[in-house]
């Protein structure tokens, strides 16, 4: 199958780019330095209807296709990776409900998410269960007409600022993580929920990465997603789609770094000429540009397949995230190199972009996990049996 | 067709505006090329009594459109009646009032319009104008198309012509013929609010010291005021400084503010973005002081000083004072 970039996609890109250049980019350095969640930019994005792009119109969303959603994330990430997490995580937190929720659950929660009035987050990871999702230990004990959640989660993006969480916990500990996990919608205003601390990080420092504690948090039956035991499947289906948001983020970070490097090199003179006139620098810029473009087009190809509900979706989304994350790290590192000493100091944005890029190789499935997923698909296509 | 050169002579508060004297001089120059007379269309309070004195600046005749202070466009019907004899050109000041009245004449009489022009002349018996277009990157020469109605309207910025004495001492004054009724006359000032402080008209200043974002505050304008005072000039600002409330809006120079043409413009802490540049690029001498060596203003200034304006501006004021005293 092929995909098409339409005039609507171009228009969306132009609009978001204008907003990002005028309102988001000027705030990026401050957000990073102060490690503060940009509530003002969240309000701006909500007002511009940019937090509702994955929701249906009947819930107040704009139901954009997945390529358009990727373009939105890309253009924001080009200005600031932290801010791009706002639409990314809004979708990540809502995906379990989108995939497994009932119409009643969607009607109850989606309007507030689409309008940006509420923020959502996805609470799967635990201190001892990162790549190994099945090692989750948090419990959801059935007590008549509700469940009681006990345990804690770690490294939950926006966990401390979200109003709604999609949480994964064991309803049947004896059955193990794969078969005994269930998914729940939890409103963070519920008694017993806490977000005691956030991490100090290398990058995306304005995005709160929180530890969450659940101490006897009660969740009604109406807030369970799907059947008991379906949690692992829902989590995997969510990640199969949400990792595309990270791919788009990585493409945006890379583009921002490339643009900054070109602008600097065109201005800076050494040895009697512009830095950009040195062939060696041009070669670096060419590699940065073509690799970013390859990552971008792979991301769009994967996005098209999400909308086409392709059978081999994980092959595409994992490939996109794998390639884009590595490209972002390489391009931002090269951007710092192009700026030389100036690339290392905070007066220029590329050092922040390099620190921000690293996370795209780590969260929503490390690059190593992505490689396992792609390898499994490669072997399946070749008719080679795989273990486990 | 008449070879006269008409011009709008605005009066306010009982005296001629500086634009009236400048345009009188310009009209007289053109009239000497065309072989016609310079004719003033005078309006505003003081026009009736002051029109004759325009002769000292080159006007042969003056037609009084009215003697009240009201929006200039309300004088359009009278101006139409006065301009019915035609002429080669009608010079209008490129001020809001002047443009509105000129625009009305263009609309009512289907007149060709040029402007703002950097030069005008009569060539081969016809009007020829020069304008800087495309943000000053191209100089265009233009003429009215053959058979176009007359006169051609020519917008003129302040300081394009320098008022000079010339011609017979007094202009022959007449009242405008009766004018048609027009809805244009229905605009009127319903409320007037004076500011506490009088603000200099930057458009007429010959020396301007302007401050921008780099001045970083209302107090920052102090050294600029001192320098302006020492040079006998006025203080202006970029939009950034006006938006921040550091100086009144009337002192903003730029695309949406005043367009100025001083012989000396000193910009301190101003980056020189295009929106500001179009307001001052025709200044004769441009000096810029900025701590950013790559500020765009450095590309088109005549003299670009890289440094801290808070050190250099006071030092310059001191140096000028010293030289005056010596």
């Amino acid at each position: 199958m092929t995909y098409l970039l339409t005039a609507d996609h171009d228009e969306l890109r132009a609009i978001v780019r204008e907003l990002a250049e005028e309102r988001i980019a000027p705030r990026a350095a401050e957000i990073d330095e102060k490690q503060e969640f940009p509530w003002d930019l969240k309000e701006l994005l909500a007002q511009q209807d940019l937090l509702g792009t994955c929701f249906e119109e009947r819930h107040g969303g704009t139901a954009l296709d997945t390529i358009a959603q990727s373009i939105l994330v890309e253009e924001i990430a080009r200005a600031d990776a932290t801010t791009s997490l706002i639409p990314i995580v809004q979708k990540l937190g809502a995906l379990p409900i989108l995939l497994a929720g009932s119409d009643e659950q969607k009607d109850r929660y989606f309007p507030r998410l689409a309008s940006g009035e509420w923020l959502a987050a996805f609470a799967l990871t635990e201190a001892a269960a990162g790549s190994d999702v099945a090692a989750n230990r948090m419990r959801a004990t059935r007590a008549g007409d509700h469940y009681v959640l006990n345990g804690s989660k770690r490294f939950i993006t926006h966990g401390s600022v979200a109003n709604l969480l999609t949480v994964f916990a064991l309803t049947d500990p004896d059955a193990g993580g794969r078969k005994g996990m269930s998914a729940f919608i939890v409103e963070t205003a519920t008694p017993g929920f806490g977000a005691p601390r956030v991490e100090h990080k290398m990058g995306i420092r304005g995005s709160p990465t929180a530890e969450l504690t659940f101490d006897g948090v009660q969740v009604t039956l109406e807030n369970r997603l799907g059947e008991e035991g379906e949690g692992f499947k829902i989590a995997m289906a969510t990640l199969d789609r949400s990792r595309l948001g990270i791919a788009a983020q990585a493409v945006g970070i890379a583009q921002g770094a490339l643009d900054a490097a070109v602008a600097y090199a065109a201005d800076r003179k050494q040895f009697g000429q512009r830095v950009v006139d040195f062939q060696g620098i041009q070669w670096m810029l060419a590699d940065m540009a073509s690799q970013t473009e390859a990552a971008r087009q792979l991301t769009y190809a994967a996005a098209a397949r999400v909308d086409a509900q392709a059978q081999d979706l994980p092959y595409w989304t994992s490939s996109a995230k794998l390639v884009a994350g590595d490209v972002a790290m390489k391009v931002t590192t090269d951007a710092v190199q192009v700026l030389g000493g100036y690339g290392y100091i905070a007066e220029y944005p590329v050092e922040r972009m390099m620190r921000d890029a690293k996370i795209t190789q780590l969260y929503e499935g490390t690059q190593q996990i992505q490689r396992l997923i792609v390898a499994r698909q490669v072997l399946q296509r070749a008719g080679v049996s795989t273990k486990g | 067709m008449s070879n006269d050169i008409l011009f709008l002579a605005e009066f306010a508060g009982g005296a001629p505006a500086r634009s009236a004297l400048e345009l009188a001089t310009g009209a007289a120059e053109l009239a000497s090329q065309s072989g016609g007379s310079a004719v003033a269309l005078a309006y505003g309070s003081g026009a009736a009594s002051g029109a004759a004195a325009l002769g000292a600046h080159g006007a042969t005749r003056a037609i009084v459109l009215g003697d009240e202070d009201r929006p200039a466009i309300t004088y359009a019907p009278a101006a139409v009646a006065a301009a019915r004899d035609g002429g080669l050109a009608l010079l209008a000041p490129a001020t809001p009032n002047g443009r509105d009245l000129a625009a009305a004449l263009v609309g009512l009489l289907d007149l060709p319009a040029f402007g703002p022009v950097r030069a005008a002349r009569v060539a081969d018996g016809a009007l020829e104008t020069e304008q800087a277009t495309l943000q000053g990157s191209v100089i265009t020469t233009a003429r009215p198309v053959d058979g176009a109605p007359a006169p051609s309207v020519v917008l003129v910025l302040a300081n394009t012509f320098t008022p000079a004495e010339g011609g017979s001492g007094t202009a022959e004054v007449a009242d405008a013929p009766a004018a048609a009724e027009s809805a244009l006359a229905k605009a009127s000032v319903t409320e007037s609010h004076e500011a506490e402080a009088k603000v200099v008209n930057l458009e007429e200043a010959t020396v301007i010291v302007a401050g921008g974002r780099g001045v970083a505050g209302e107090e920052g304008f102090g050294p600029l005021r001192d320098l302006a005072a020492e040079l006998g000039g006025a203080v202006g600002a970029s939009r950034a400084a006006a938006d921040a409330g550091w100086i009144p809006y009337q002192l903003q120079i730029g695309q949406t503010g005043k367009v100025v043409k001083p012989s000396l413009y000193i910009g301190a802490g101003i980056s020189g973005a295009i929106q500001h540049r179009v307001g001052m690029q025709t200044a004769e001498h441009v000096v810029a002081i900025n701590k950013d060596p790559d500020a765009p203003i450095g590309e088109f200034a005549d003299l670009f000083v890289v440094g801290d304006l808070f050190q250099i501006v006071p030092a310059l004021t001191e140096e000028i004072r010293r030289r005056k005293g010596a």
């Binding site: - | 100089i139 244009l184 605009a187 009088k198």
Partner: protein
């Protein structure tokens, strides 16, 4: 209460612009935007809608087919519908011809207020509002920092040399506003999507009762020559000097030019 906002599509600020061989402005291949000063007129009209003073806002533009993009972008900010007047006879139109055409279109739309920005990025004459008012025989309220409407009249607050004045006239009026109106709003995503469904009509000269002859070739002036500006001597620079020395050098420079 109905407002028509006249907008113009212009080449993007800073885009490469030049004259063609036949001395017309070359607009091909250049990114086009809503004239930035017209955005303030749009914003002013939409604020009056937000305040409940105005019920409907229509956008009007004269231009080639491409100008429909500018109208869609305006509709994305708000407003109800749009009209594009386009005709091959209008190529190269000057401010006079523009005023004639807009005036005829406005007479057909018959708004209470015909609102414009104070100038266009490319033409710079600021003559269109006054000329339109004159052709339509309607009062002009120009250079407003703010526009108010109600009770059969409209007023603009205009900054004067000292302080400000309110200038008013009975409806209908032609008005123009400056950037003092306030920051224009961004088009929201829903606004952009809704704009695609809002009605846009295209009118030719015949639709507004004008003929090509009426417009005398669409311009009363013609460019006879273009040339680059006079070579300026390169910028002199003073750098890395302590302030007193820099000041002395500047003073020398000024003295050499008899400025002090």
């Amino acid at each position: 209460m109905k407002i028509v906002v006249c907008i113009k599509q212009v080449p993007a600020t800073g885009a490469d612009k030049r004259y063609t061989d036949d001395l017309r402005l070359d607009r091909t291949g250049v990114e086009a935007i809503i004239n930035p000063l017209d955005e303030y007129a749009i914003e002013q009209a939409l604020r009056l809608v937000d305040d409940g003073a105005v019920e409907s806002v229509t956008y009007l533009s004269m231009g080639p087919d491409q100008a429909a993009e500018a109208l869609r972008r305006a509709l994305a900010m708000g407003g109800d519908d749009a009209v594009l007047v386009t005709d091959p006879a209008l190529a190269g139109a000057d401010e006079w011809a523009t005023a004639k055409v807009l005036a005829a279109a406005l007479d057909k739309l018959a708004p209470d207020v015909a609102l414009m920005g104070m100038a266009s990025d490319d033409a710079r004459g600021s003559l269109v509002p006054g000329a339109v008012a004159a052709v339509r025989d309607v009062p002009l309220l120009s250079y407003g920092a703010e526009l108010k409407v109600g009770d059969g009249s409209a007023q603009v607050r205009r900054l004067a040399a000292t302080g400000y004045d309110w200038i008013g006239a009975p409806l209908p009026v032609v008005a123009s506003v400056t950037d003092q109106v306030g920051e224009p709003r961004y088009a929201s995503l829903k606004g952009i999507m809704a704009a695609k469904r809002k009605p846009m009509e295209t009118w030719s000269l015949a639709d507004i009762g004008l003929s090509a002859d009426d417009l005398r070739g669409a311009a009363l002036t013609r460019v006879t020559d273009t040339r680059p500006p006079e070579e300026k001597p390169p910028t002199e620079r003073i750098e890395n000097l302590p302030a007193p020395e820099a000041a002395a050098r500047i003073a020398d420079w000024l003295a050499a030019r008899k400025l002090i």
